[in-house]
Subunit: 274 residues, 2 copies
């Protein structure tokens, strides 16, 4: 899945069809079957990662999820991350920065939320908001946001060098699909709380966001921390794709059960004596 | 389930059989079936609670889990809390306090971890460690820990008055079952990391812990925040029981979808125009 979704130099987002299903030619039912079929392997890999991190210097994984409103970030977290032991997950949803956060460098709150050794960190939005909404709305001068791409690359390189593997996922939906999803939120009283009048204002800035997302891909997809663009008009595909990206990453890490730091035979005798 | 497990004045822990299955006369398979059967209701209730808390003044739930080593706290979190959307859960595992935490009042770190409105907070160990391990090991003078029961009651009353419903679960295993579970950790290389030589030292203090747990029940089971003692020698029963306690609590809260804070018809027109 990683090879099919990884951004290559020159990749144009406009060329990626949000309804496509790269590296998968099955349907919704098959996708669900595949996902359920690897739940156990994923749980095993996650527990090994966690066990290996218990001494405080193990590795970790950080899944960064970016995408327009209604692109399905929440559903992916519920369905993909929800299948993993919550004790091994550190989830952070980044909202508009607070007054206190605004006084710090933009990466400050990101650093606070980095996963501890052994954990799978999940960012629902991330440092990239600082070159997306911030750029589109001119919340800081262009000279400030234009420096941030390089700052993010440096930061991510440092994060990776300390043992955290990044998986950067960009969900791609079409403008029509977003309209349908917002319509559903307005049509269903149990979804009214998910709708915000600001969503339509943001929607009117769609071309500016497309440009800002393209700049992110152009400037921050590095060898160490590439972007994976996941077509997301079909929710079931996006969930499968993100699960597979996580699975492939954990398989590569191949975490092993740590060996005992005590004498097993001695402890067996001690326990038997109780 | 709450009525069967709630501690009444004069309840003696020694009278509660860790292998019993109060308010349930089925087997492991039936328990699993019941649990799977209410997953959807639980997910719906949790989402309503979350939605209702979005305006910042909604209610929340706090599940406190206490129990001896190997009593199954982790398994309950994995199986019961793992079935809930991770976006609505705030999980905190309390370890031995850090040097910085030790300089603060013992409830300080507990306050930091209280669930936000709309969330289900889960405490893996809690403020009760400060009258359990601390009492058994004389980590503070008796005059200090003996005051803490009253301080905890006052604290919990204040927490409840701000809209957080407490569910305090005490897992009860037998000494024989603990021995078998520790033995398994020593027998299986993939479980070695879960074993700590200190576990046997603690085990030798079993009677002192029993006394300390009884004091917790005697002094901190209040009308507002009663203890539920869950027999835990059968893992499948303990998981079912905790799930049902959570479910019954959420049903009582009966959270409703919040009504729209905007004009739905106006928004439909605005969206249609995009």
């Amino acid at each position: 899945m990683r090879e099919a979704l990884r951004v290559e130099p020159g990749t144009l987002l406009a060329d990626i069809d949000p309804r496509s299903t790269p590296a998968f030619d099955g349907d919704k039912e098959l996708a669900a079957e595949i996902m359920a079929g690897v739940d156990e392997e994923l749980a095993d890999l996650q527990e090994r990662l966690y066990a290996d991190g218990r001494d405080g210097d193990g590795r970790s994984v950080l899944l960064v999820i970016q995408g327009m409103d209604t692109s399905g970030k929440g559903g992916i977290i519920r369905h993909v991350i929800g299948a993993v032991d919550p004790q091994g997950v550190e989830l952070t949803a980044f909202k508009a920065p607070t007054a206190a956060e605004k006084r710090k460098p933009f990466l400050w709150r990101i650093r606070q939320a980095l996963p501890k050794p052994g954990y799978i960190g999940v960012f629902d939005r991330s440092q990239y908001e600082d070159v997306l909404i911030v750029r589109v709305h001119n919340l800081v001068p262009p000279s400030t946001w234009s420096r941030r791409y390089g700052q993010i690359n440096t930061f991510e390189k440092s994060v990776q060098s300390k043992g955290t593997t990044l998986i950067k996922v960009m969900l791609r939906i079409s403008s029509e699909e977003q309209k349908a999803r917002l319509q559903e939120r307005l049509d269903r009283p149990d979804k009214h709380w998910k709708y915000n009048p600001g969503d339509v204002d943001e929607r009117e800035l769609w071309p500016a966001y497309e440009e800002a997302y393209q700049a992110v891909v152009d400037k921050t997809s590095t060898d160490d921390a590439p972007w994976y663009v996941v077509p997301a008009d079909r929710k079931w595909y996006a969930r499968l794709a993100v699960q597979q990206l996580l699975l492939e990453t954990l398989r590569d890490l191949d975490p092993q059960w740590p060996s005992a730091t005590y004498d097993v035979d001695v402890e067996k005798e001690r326990l038997a004596a109780t």
